[in-house]
């Protein structure tokens, strides 16, 4: 085999490898991206059923109902304009409060209830998830009452 042909072979192998990688990335992007929805987004352009997504907003005041010895939690997430009922089973992050920002990952079920698989942990009083801030700004509910939201050395969501 001449040097040229060998080089061509390596080049082809490289292209094939990158080609496979690209194909994998594209299919994975199609199926596995998790989009963020505000409650208003959910109301106006509902996602495909069964698709994993994230929602975020404020935990509506007086909406939290616990059952099953505190392990099952129902509450509503609102951006002021719309709200979404959420069900979650498990332990909540310590800073989960009514009136505070929250981000949850899960799926919308047939009845329009958001079945949360994870409530993203919040580790600091000062912190407001960026997505929530943007969603509130969009619905005109942002009061800017926590201007130092993500700033001032606040550690944010961990995962």
């Amino acid at each position: 085999m001449t040097r040229k042909r060998k080089r061509l072979l390596i080049l082809l192998a490289g292209m094939a490898s990158l080609g496979v990688a690209t194909a994998l990335v594209l299919t994975a992007f199609k199926d596995n991206l998790v989009f963020f929805y505000s409650p208003s987004d959910l109301a106006t352009k509902p996602p495909a059923p069964g698709r994993a997504l994230r929602i975020g907003g404020l935990v509506e005041e007086h909406s939290v109902v616990r059952s099953d010895r505190g392990l099952r939690i129902e509450f509503k997430v609102t951006d002021g304009a719309h709200d979404v009922p959420v069900v979650y089973t498990g332990e909540l992050p310590t800073l989960f409060r009514e009136g505070q920002g929250v981000v949850a990952e899960g799926k919308v079920d047939g009845a329009g209830v958001f079945q949360a698989a994870t409530i993203l942990a919040k580790h600091d009083e000062r912190y407001m998830p960026k997505e929530v801030v943007d969603a509130l700004k969009e619905s005109g509910q942002w009061r800017g009452d926590k201007p130092a939201a993500a700033a001032a050395g606040a550690p944010g969501t961990m995962r």
Binding site: N32, L33, V34, L71, H123, E125, M158
Partner: protein, 660 residues
């Protein structure tokens, strides 16, 4: 006294920047003109630069230890009630301090080349140190102009804000320095690559000089990532150890490309080919390290690692990143064509296998890069907000890693230059049979529900089998086998250990992901939770007072078939200063499985939520990583790689070289 310490540190940093600028320019000119004195300046400059940054580092440490709250950085991140160890380590538990650590390690590497690179050709050494100083100057300027840790407060507060409780852990003492030793260590490969491009010359001796630095950085990065994931596992209380979080990916990408670099540098050294690719990888690896620094430090990601968001900082690091990547790529495009390969090889050969390893590692790295950057890009462009999680990486990274791991079993058995596949495969008969048996048994065990479990365990056995087969082939059982075993070069042992470590890690990843079990239940003291055949009984919860926290510590007795296995003490700590609760996880490990218990906060009715995980084989993830790093260290101790050993052969006429 304390007034002058911070100013001394600040002043030392300014001087260090000045020295770095001189070191970046003068030796470079000297190397171009062949002026010995100008080139020799680099050595002393590198040592002085390190000493100055060291003074600044110690000055900040002093401010932390003495709780000097007139320094803004200390006031914001420390507190008198904090234990001493966290006063010291808390120094790099914030943006400014961690950047100072970054630069300190960068100058440490520069000083190490200056001190130990006595046999380096003067011209190469001058250029390497000049490039190293350019990077150093960039980051010193970054610290001085946007992240000065020595800023004073006109009116010092009575006490500081304290450190994020999550960071108040011994992990902070080791994880960041180790990770930075890795990240920043790749700057050496970068500097050598740029110097080689300027010189227009890459040969086996060059590869032998670069390899120890790359290997050292790679070992540190392996340990750093390992420590980080272990820390996340025991500190964050979520029962997992890797989440494909962008900050994790930021450290994983340089590791992937650094691993590729490590292997391609062997080809340059042994076979004098793949030079351009190796240079490219060296540039890429450091670029990815810088990208990681940017992602983690600029505040574009919200995570425990993003200490502060100041848009100026993000812009500055992004500018540095563009300058380093853009500049080195332009240099590469201009100069790389001059690097002619001399060795040639057949596709089926050790080189061929290493090329395959490189291609797949690079492709896998590219998919991680895309998964990490796409959400940021879309957000920056005003697109939809998205996140990319584990399913994406399972669908992209795993299919690319699998063939690479399959090839890893065979590669070391192939000879250099031209190999025959058939005899290599014949030797692997036993390994192959073991692989099939384990994969089939695993397939039955999971009843075909998942193909990842048989695939992962099969690959682990395959790699281990291939590695051991290769060792046996070398030693040839029979007369004199022991002597041959003793005479094996250290580099050989290093490879065997590292590859076996990879097999152990893969086994740990596969089993802990596929077979983990968890239970969450609300219990009162006296009640028990069943998981994986064990009974976890919450005996009591008692208050406990710490130096800067108060805690509720539980006693959980684990029994199985009536016999007590372990008594565990998970706690819920409350840090009043930060108004923050942190779970103190209790882990009981057997080396083969972890029992992992998290005590939740008290419910209104007095219940406690117990979260319990049974994580089989999870310790192997880290055992394997430590084995890999040990393999690197053993290989590093090989005579051949000892710093200063390599000598360039007689120079061909006309080759540019300093009169040594």
């Amino acid at each position: 006294m304390s007034l002058s310490t911070a100013e001394l540190g600040h002043f030392a940093l300014i001087l260090a920047l000045a020295v770095a600028l001189v070191q970046a320019v003068v030796p470079m000119i000297g190397a171009a003109r062949g002026q010995r004195g100008m080139m020799e300046l680099a050595t002393n400059a590198a040592l002085v630069q390190f000493a100055l940054v060291g003074i600044a580092f110690l000055a900040l440490m002093r401010a932390y230890v003495t709780s000097d709250f007139s320094v803004l950085n200390v006031a914001e991140n420390s507190h008198t009630a904090k234990p001493l160890i966290y006063k010291i380590t808390g120094m790099w538990g914030n943006h400014e301090g961690s950047m100072l650590l970054w630069v300190a390690i960068l100058t440490l590497y520069g000083a190490a080349v200056a001190a130990f690179g006595r046999t380096l050709p003067l011209r190469l050494k001058a250029r390497v140190l000049a490039v190293q100083a350019m990077v150093g100057a960039g980051f010193l300027a970054f610290i001085l102009f946007t992240s000065n840790p020595f800023l004073r407060l006109a009116e010092p507060p009575a006490d500081g804000n304290g450190l994020n409780p999550i960071l108040q852990d011994p992990g902070l003492a080791f994880h960041p320095p180790m990770l930075y030793l890795g990240y920043v260590g790749f700057s050496m490969a970068f500097s050598f690559a740029v110097a080689a491009l300027i010189e227009g010359r890459v040969d086996a001796a060059w590869a032998r000089w670069v390899r120890p630095w790359t290997l050292a950085a790679w070992c540190a990065l392996t340990l750093g990532i390992c420590l980080g994931s272990w820390w996340a596992y025991y500190e964050l209380g979520w029962g997992g150890w890797w989440a494909w979080d962008p900050v994790e990916n930021a450290s994983f990408m340089p590791w992937l490309s650094g691993t590729a670099l490590l292997h391609s540098a062997i080809v340059v050294e042994k076979r004098d080919t793949l030079k351009r690719w190796t240079i490219f990888l060296a540039l890429l690896t450091f670029a990815l390290s810088l990208l990681g620094t940017f992602l983690v430090r600029s505040g574009v990601l919200t995570s425990v690692h993003a200490f502060a968001t100041d848009p100026r900082r993000g812009a500055f690091i992004l500018g540095l990143l563009a300058l380093v990547i853009g500049g080195s790529l332009v240099l590469y495009a201009w100069r790389a064509p001059a690097l002619e390969p001399t060795g040639s090889f057949a596709p089926i050969s050790r080189e061929g296998a290493l090329v395959l390893n490189n291609l797949l590692l690079a492709s896998a790295c590219a998919t991680v890069l895309l998964g990490t950057l796409t959400p940021l890009m879309l957000d920056a462009l005003g697109g939809p907000k998205i996140s990319v999680g584990a399913p994406y990486y399972n669908a992209t990274f795993v299919p690319l890693a699998a063939p690479m791991l399959a090839a890893l079993g065979i590669g070391p058995l192939l000879t250099w230059k031209r190999a025959d596949l058939a005899p290599a495969l014949r030797k692997l008969g036993i390994a192959f049979a073991a692989t099939l048996a384990v994969a089939a048994a695993t397939g039955f065990a999971v009843e075909g529900r998942s193909f990842l479990a048989p695939l992962g365990l099969g690959l682990a056995v395959w790699i281990l089998g291939g590695t051991l087969t290769e060792l046996v082939t070398r030693v040839r059982p029979g007369e004199g086998a022991l002597r041959r075993l003793r005479l094996l070069p250290r580099a050989q042992w290093g490879m065997t250990l590292a590859h076996a470590g990879l097999a152990v890690t893969i086994a740990g990843i596969t089993v802990s992901t596929g077979w983990k079990q968890e239970a969450i239940e609300a219990v009162k003291p006296g009640e028990a939770v069943m998981l994986a055949g064990d009974s976890y009984r919450l005996d009591s919860v008692a208050p406990e007072a710490g130096p800067n926290y108060s805690a509720d510590r539980g006693t959980v007795t684990v029994t199985r078939d009536g016999g007590t296995i372990a008594v565990m003490h998970p706690a819920q700590k409350f840090y009043p200063l930060q108004v923050m609760s942190v779970a103190d996880v209790a882990i009981a490990t057997t080396g083969f499985a972890d029992r992992y218990v998290v005590l939740g906060e008290r419910q209104e009715n007095g219940d406690r939520i117990l979260r319990i995980y049974w994580n089989p084989l999870v310790p192997w993830v880290w055992f394997g990583a430590v084995m890999m790093a040990l393999g690197g260290i053993v290989s590093l101790s090989d005579r051949r790689l000892r710093i200063g050993v390599p000598q360039r052969q007689a120079q061909p006429a006309g080759a540019s070289r300093a009169a040594a």
